[in-house]
């Protein structure tokens, strides 16, 4: 299988699978873009090397699904895993109409992080507070033109009443934010005081920094979004080991395997019978009845991301 390069996943997931079934799991930890380039070249040469994919939304929807590299999971998962009541919200969290991509994690993304030595967290209660002229040139954000979840913020603003394209322009152009590409480095720089405020940072980086006692704090503004991060599951349309592919996909969707994945990835399961890891902050757990922007919706992944990217490029140029 291929999946994110996160070292805890790379080490713990194959170990847990092997302990359960006694079968060795070859795990390729790589970025979605690198894996897509590799798969495309392999498939052109008639080589099919991977059975199961776990990855991010963009690669999964706009490359694997768009090129028909994945098969419907309804023919792979067991009836127990297709039982609606087994999942949070009472529906099996398929992302696409073909039911070939399953969301196996879901959490609230990190919204705004501040350096507590420089910013009083109470100062920021809505995203619009970031438009204060005193923050001009002092906000760092993961470049929304680069792959990953930073573009989801733009989509969320476009969709939210009272925000829209004008807010996007005022925040991403008029406020002259510093565009960064590395979440870990951005988190460290925020803690060192290089920037007082940062947007789009990775959940794992922020959690670790907070655990280490660095002077940063997550601020919860008015708009929040949920995502699966790298927690999307799909099975190859031409798996080299069909039975092994089925077994692995079923395991990742069942309580034990799903828990192993989410514990290793540090995320929250979409299954109703898998409790969130105890060390995760409460705000990351999606609350019933609360309104979140759904960054996993098929429409947003296939159209909204493209629109948001075009908007941001028209404002700050191509990278």
């Amino acid at each position: 299988m291929s999946g994110p390069p996160t070292d805890t996943v790379r080490q713990k997931l194959p170990q847990a699978f092997q302990q359960t079934y006694g079968t060795k799991l070859d795990y390729i930890g790589t970025s979605g873009k690198d894996n897509a380039a590799r798969l495309q070249s392999e498939r052109q040469a008639g080589i099919y090397s991977q059975d199961v994919f776990v990855g991010g939304a963009d690669t999964m929807a706009n490359t694997y699904h768009a090129q028909n590299w994945i098969a419907p999971l309804t023919g792979v998962l067991t009836p127990a895993e297709l039982e609606t009541k087994a999942w949070r919200g009472g529906t099996v969290p398929f992302v696409d109409a073909d039911k070939s991509i399953l969301s196996i994690s879901r959490y609230v993304t990190v919204p705004i992080v501040v350096n507590t030595d420089q910013v009083d967290p109470k100062e920021i209660t809505t995203w619009k507070d970031l438009l204060d002229p005193k923050w001009k040139g002092k906000i760092a954000t993961i470049d929304p033109r680069s792959p990953g979840g930073a573009i989801y913020n733009v989509g969320m603003f476009q969709a939210a009443p009272g925000y829209g394209d004008d807010f996007v322009k005022r925040l991403y152009k008029d406020q002259s934010p510093v565009l960064i590409t590395d979440s870990r480095q951005g988190t460290d720089d925020l803690a060192k005081g290089k920037y007082p405020i940062a947007l789009g940072l990775g959940q794992l980086d922020v959690d670790t920094a907070v655990d280490d006692g660095l002077p940063i704090q997550v601020v919860m503004p008015d708009l929040l979004q949920t995502t699966s991060g790298f927690g999307f599951l799909a099975v190859s349309d031409k798996p080299p080991h069909p039975n092994a592919a089925k077994l692995l996909a079923q395991w990742l969707a069942c309580p034990d395997g799903n828990k192993a994945w989410n514990d290793a990835y540090g995320s929250i399961s979409t299954r109703a019978d898998v409790e969130p890891p105890s060390d995760l902050p409460d705000w990351q757990v999606p609350q019933d009845g609360k309104d979140y922007f759904d960054a996993n919706s098929w429409e947003f992944l296939t159209k909204g991301v493209k629109d948001a990217t075009e908007l941001i490029k028209s404002l700050i140029g191509s990278n």
């Binding site: 994110p4 390069p5 996160t6 070292d7 790379r10 080490q11 194959p14 170990q15 070859d26 795990y27 390729i28 930890g29 790589t30 970025s31 873009k33 690198d34 897509a36 380039a37 590799r38 495309q40 070249s41 392999e42 052109q44 040469a45 080589i47 090397s49 963009d58 690669t59 706009n62 490359t63 768009a66 090129q67 028909n68 033109r145 680069s146 792959p147 510093v178 960064i180 590409t181 590395d182 979440s183 870990r184 480095q185 460290d188 720089d189 803690a191 060192k192 005081g193 290089k194 990775g202 794992l204 920094a209 280490d212 006692g213 660095l214 991301v305 990217t309 140029g317 191509s318 990278n319």
Partner: protein, 627 residues
Amino acid sequence: MSGVLPPVAPDAVEPLPGPVRRLVKARRSSGSRVTGTVVLLLVAAVTVVPITLLLLNSLNVADPGDPAAYGLDNWRQAFANGAMWESAWNTLRLGVPRVLLGMVIATVISWLIARTDIPGGKVIEVFLWFSFFIPSLSMTLGWILLLDPANGVVNQVIRTVPGLGDITQGPLNIYSYWGIIWTHLTATTVPIMVILLVPAFRRMSRSMEEAAQISGASRLRTLVSITVPMMRPAIIAATLLSFVYSLKTFEIELLLGTPIGLNVYSTQIYNWLQSSPPQFGTATALGSVFIPILIMLAIMQRFAVRSRSYVTVGAHTYNDEPIRLGRIRRWVIAGVLWLYAVITVVLPLGAIVLGSFMRRFGFFQLTNPFTTEHWSALFHDNLFASSVRNTLVIGLIATLVGVLVYFVISFVIVRSELPTRGGVDVMAWLPAAVPGMLLGLGLLWVYLGTPLRTVLYGNLFGLIIALVISHMATGTQQLKAAILQVSPDLDRAARICGATPVRAYTYVLFPLLGPSVAAAGVLTFHSAVSDVSTVVLLSSNDSRPLSILLLEYSTSGVLEQASVLGVLISALTVGVALLSRALGGRRLRASKPGRRIRVTRGTPPSPLPAMKAGASSEDSSLTRTGS
């Protein structure tokens, strides 16, 4: 072999009638053409084919998954993009000054180490090797730990100096134009040039410098008028290779340039490859821009060194005593060099080692900031043992195969009379013209498009071939400059005495080239064990080397374990470098005075002590190389 080897002792051949001479010449020329074409095709197969595939695909404008459609859209898009021009300008304004600065610093340091009697020169040389073998990513992290404007150790120490006022940032800032140049100079530019230049300086006969000094020239004038011009091929090759290295490395600009919005050629290509969907066509178009520039540089280099002889190891007696700088001056100059080594190598190296023991890299203010858990975590990583094994196999085989291939190519370029040798020379440069990620992509297509794909793709064999190709320009230029310095008269003399070609090279040429071959081997090993971009698309779970493990740690934000691994990789490379240096030196010193060369064709037996490196100048009629 008539095309590869120069004719042996043409004067000894009895003159032939004119028509026969013309016939022999025509047949020899025909043989040369065939051999030349075969050599050219072999080199082209491994260098031109992947790059041609890349160029072809840069013209493919179809969406992913759709049938191929060709056009110039990707090229238009690349050239119409303001970011491309900005990154090209940044590349030049960062690259040219640092390479020129590096050339001056490295030439002076190399000369001092190799040609003078400064105390501790060899230790300083090893220090500089060490700084080159530390992965650029780790070295940059080390400099961030020292020169971060907020809490860099050096800045914190400087800020305690009274009179600086109550400043909380700086005064030094690694995230700046000069910060990037400084990091490049210390991590790549100066060390690689010293590694390349020291063996060349050591191989140089002192006879010409002595002649200049006997004629009344000062030491400085001798250095400027004799030593440096004689070293021109080596200096040009080292400068070009340093420039190429500075184009290809991108970790430094990625870490230090991105926060200040400074993109260069390699980071721009990286951005395009990482965008969604990946813009392979546009990235390849930008990558291709440097192919004609590099070919032009390669041709200019040929012109620059072809009009004169650069033989510095010839059949003349010479005194190999180091130049004496004077009792006080040698210690003063050594002090300056030691200070340079401490500042540019010991400090960042210390920071890297320190960082590997920090709970969180760069944060001294934490409660209990130090820990050994990152070392423990690395050794307990279930991929660590297999990655070490793969790295050793890849490194050792790529070094052996690479040095052999580079030597043959260099020998053909310098010593043969093949009509295609100029083409071979230019083609050997080609792999350096494209960033590793694109070269890896081209090789992936080549591997998958051949019937040998099951042998080449996803296993160690394919990685080794890719790494040998990727490092070809460096290895070939390094050995080319070395062979240029050795007079062909030396091995021809052995041939005249009846030695077979293999024996003549084994006992004459190879010992003279020992240090350069050792240095080429070390650089190849370093490249093989630390290259990430070329192998990232070609490795599999079973063939993952340590460099890919380092990439995985870095991209998943585990900088501390990446730092530990960086220390281990550099220790491994330095260990191999020291071993190689010892073996290379031993090869030079391993002459057995009583040994005789086997005689053929009735030639009277003759002892060969004089041909062996290590013979004293008193009993030798041939020049000895320094060691």
